[in-house]
């Protein structure tokens, strides 16, 4: 079977076929046999050509979290037809204009008001989580278009806080 996965926004392909008690892996470059097993719900043991790997594994909705040799991977299945990559590009442009909460927390203060002009790196708002204050800064030069939250409000991760518009738009 062929599989496609997104890791750090890059698309990777791999093929895995069951063959008696082992699996045949094709990674595009090479084809080899692998002895793969779920050792427990969160541990996958892989032996390839005598080398042994213990992969920690957890699933959460569409995300898979993996760890091996101290390194972490977040693996997702791609959206239909490789759309995801394109989408990501669009999103990143949108992201600059739509300032979102970087983590769940509490809005401590909003440093700007609507229509106000903002410089790059200017502090727009302060969000606190786990006792640490985090200044949310503008990544563009422009104007504040809309403010969605107020001081004291609890916000979830990715919650839109402030919408900006580019200066050049004028």
């Amino acid at each position: 079977m062929e599989f496609e996965f997104l890791i750090d926004n890059a698309l990777h392909k791999i093929s895995l076929e069951k063959k008696e008690n082992t699996f045949v892996v094709s990674d595009g470059e090479k084809t080899y046999e692998a002895d793969i097993r779920f050792i427990s719900p969160n541990i996958i043991s892989i032996i390839i050509e005598g080398r042994s790997y213990r992969v920690y594994f957890a699933r959460d909705r569409e995300k898979r979290f993996l760890s091996l040799e101290g390194q972490q991977f977040t693996v997702q299945e791609p959206l239909e037809g490789g759309e995801s990559l394109q989408k990501d590009e669009i999103r990143s442009r949108e992201d600059e204009l739509m300032v979102k909460a970087p983590m769940p927390g509490k809005v401590i203060k909003i440093d700007v008001s609507e229509k106000e002009e903002v410089r790059k790196n200017q502090t727009l708002a302060v969000v606190e989580a786990m006792k640490m204050e985090n200044e949310i800064k503008s990544t563009i030069e422009g104007y504040v278009k809309k403010i969605f939250v107020s001081a004291g409000e609890l916000v979830d991760s990715e919650k839109p806080l402030i919408e900006l518009e580019l200066k050049s738009k004028e």
């Binding site: 793969i36 594994f57 101290g70």
Partner: protein, 502 residues
């Protein structure tokens, strides 16, 4: 001996204290906020009482509620852990008034050392070297401004009440002063319920060296040698070790004696830590007394063979110190790494959420003080410390190697943590060389980017993911059969188990 101890804290330190209570045969009482019903300390204590809503100010900082709870459950003593009310002299005073033993220093000493300005004055008078800085609390911004100018930039803002980096900011010029003061005061208020801050000369690239002290109620004082805590991010320690690479036996003895003097002139009892800054020329300056059990206390326990929480409880019970200074000997080397729920690739942004899976680090010489478990939630309300890994080995080099391995074995899935980052710190040639200063992270990890992962590991992650997908497909097909297999013990002999080939 104390009869029942209420632990006014949460997370790994509450768990640590509960363990000590169990070993000493003293019943323990956990208190918890509504966000912490499922927390580990609630499950491990003998008793557990909900003391209010999630925000700390309404629960873990609610003095009246905590004292009332102690009376209700018949606890004769309160251990405050670190943070929250640990260094709140008002709380210690109220405990004293209510005839509850506060497991920490007496309120008078706590008030003195907790007031950074007054304690600086006391130490200066006693001939203890201090960092140039403000001699009193500022009336207004103008006074801060003129003091800053007098001290000379860069200056450091510090919370009068605080510790642990909360409210701390470096200010490089007068333009930054106002916003930094505001932020520092807000953080101080939120962390300690007291917004007072003061200014002090910022010493560049110093080492942070502190001495652990124990003082009983009869004037006996010992120190248990130093800890070096130079590796910091956001002015908060993340790696601690002992012995310090910067001390020789002579300097160690001199600083140890100074630490004991600080404890003595403060009228301090129970466990406390005397913090010093050590500059490049090996001058040391008294910084403050941390009037509590420190996060990093385990490295002292590992090298001196003393259990500091046991000692705290014994001292609070009115016991005399069981050892003299000469009997306390350092052995080997110990390092602690603090595991925070933070994303090192995003400027240590806190990361709350569900811990989908936890694999503890284990092995000879590895200790894990831990407040989380597979399946727990890490709430947004509290300090992001999750756990600590502590290693002991015969020497520093072996301790580093052991720590690197322990961090490799340590897995937390579902939220971001500092585990991998800490591994890179310990593996860094400058760390191995012992060149640890408070600028270490800035100097070597400022441009910390998501490193390219080796292709081999990436490939294995893909194989594992594909295997899981394949497995899911097949499980769906033969769900019932699978289910039985997964939950069945080995009740039948069969298949390859009996010596046949798989």
């Amino acid at each position: 001996m104390l009869k029942k101890i209420l632990i006014a804290n949460r997370g790994e330190i509450a768990v640590r204290i509960i363990k000590a209570c169990q070993e000493m045969g003293i019943p323990s009482v956990a208190v918890y906020s509504e966000a912490d019903r499922d927390s580990l300390h609630v499950q491990l204590a003998n008793e557990a009482v909900c003391i209010g809503p999630a925000p700390a100010i309404e629960s873990y900082l609610n003095m009246g509620r905590i004292i009332r709870t102690a009376h209700e459950v018949g606890a004769d003593s309160i251990h405050p852990g670190y943070g929250f009310l640990a260094e709140n002299a008002e709380f210690a005073r109220r405990c004293e008034k209510e005839k509850i033993v506060f497991i920490g220093p007496n309120s008078k000493a706590l008030a003195l050392v907790g007031d950074k300005v007054r304690s600086r004055q006391t130490m200066e008078k006693a001939g203890v070297p201090i960092i140039p800085g403000m001699k009193g609390i500022a009336k207004d911004f103008a006074e801060f401004e003129s003091e800053a100018k007098k001290i000379g930039y860069p200056v450091m803002i510090k919370a009068s009440a605080g510790g642990g980096g909360k409210g701390m900011r470096v200010v490089h010029d007068s333009e930054e002063l106002k916003s930094s003061l505001e932020a520092g005061m807000r953080e101080a208020k939120s962390a300690f319920g007291d917004e007072s801050v003061y200014l002090e000369k910022f010493i560049e690239e110093p080492r942070h060296v502190e001495f652990q002290a124990l003082a009983d109620n009869y004037g006996n004082i010992v120190h248990l040698f130093e800890r070096e805590c130079s590796i910091q991010r956001r002015h908060q320690k993340i790696v601690e070790e002992t012995p310090s690479q910067a001390l020789d036996p002579k300097l160690r003895a001199r600083m140890g004696e100074t630490a004991k003097k600080v404890i003595k002139v403060s009228g301090y009892n129970n466990a406390g830590t005397v913090e010093f800054l050590l500059d490049k020329d090996k001058n040391f300056y008294f910084l403050e007394v941390n009037a509590r059990l420190q996060v990093e206390h385990p490295v002292t326990e590992m090298t001196t063979g003393t259990d500091l929480v046991h000692q705290q409880i014994l001292i609070a019970s009115g016991e005399k110190l069981p050892f003299s200074q000469e009997e306390i000997i350092q052995r080997g080397h110990s390092i602690e790494c603090r595991i925070y729920a933070e994303d090192p690739n995003q400027d240590f942004l806190p990361s709350s959420g569900k811990v989908l899976f936890l694999q503890d680090p284990v092995g000879p010489g590895v200790r894990h003080d831990c407040g989380i478990y597979s399946g727990c939630e890490v709430p947004i309300y509290y300090d992001p410390i999750l756990a600590k890994v502590i290693v002991w080995a015969e020497n520093r080099n072996k301790a580093c190697l052991r720590m690197i391995n322990a961090l490799d074995d340590y897995v937390v899935l579902g939220i971001k943590t500092t585990i991998h980052f800490l591994k890179e710190v310990i593996s860094h040639p400058q760390f191995k060389a012992g060149n640890t200063t408070t600028s270490f992270i800035k100097m070597y990890f400022d441009e910390q980017e998501a490193k390219k992962k080796p292709d081999e590991n990436l490939k294995l992650a893909l194989i594992a993911s594909a295997f899981d997908s394949l497995d899911k497909t097949q499980v769906r097909k033969t769900a019932e059969h699978k289910d039985k297999e997964v939950f069945s013990p080995w009740l039948t002999l069969g298949k390859w188990r009996l010596g046949g080939k798989k």
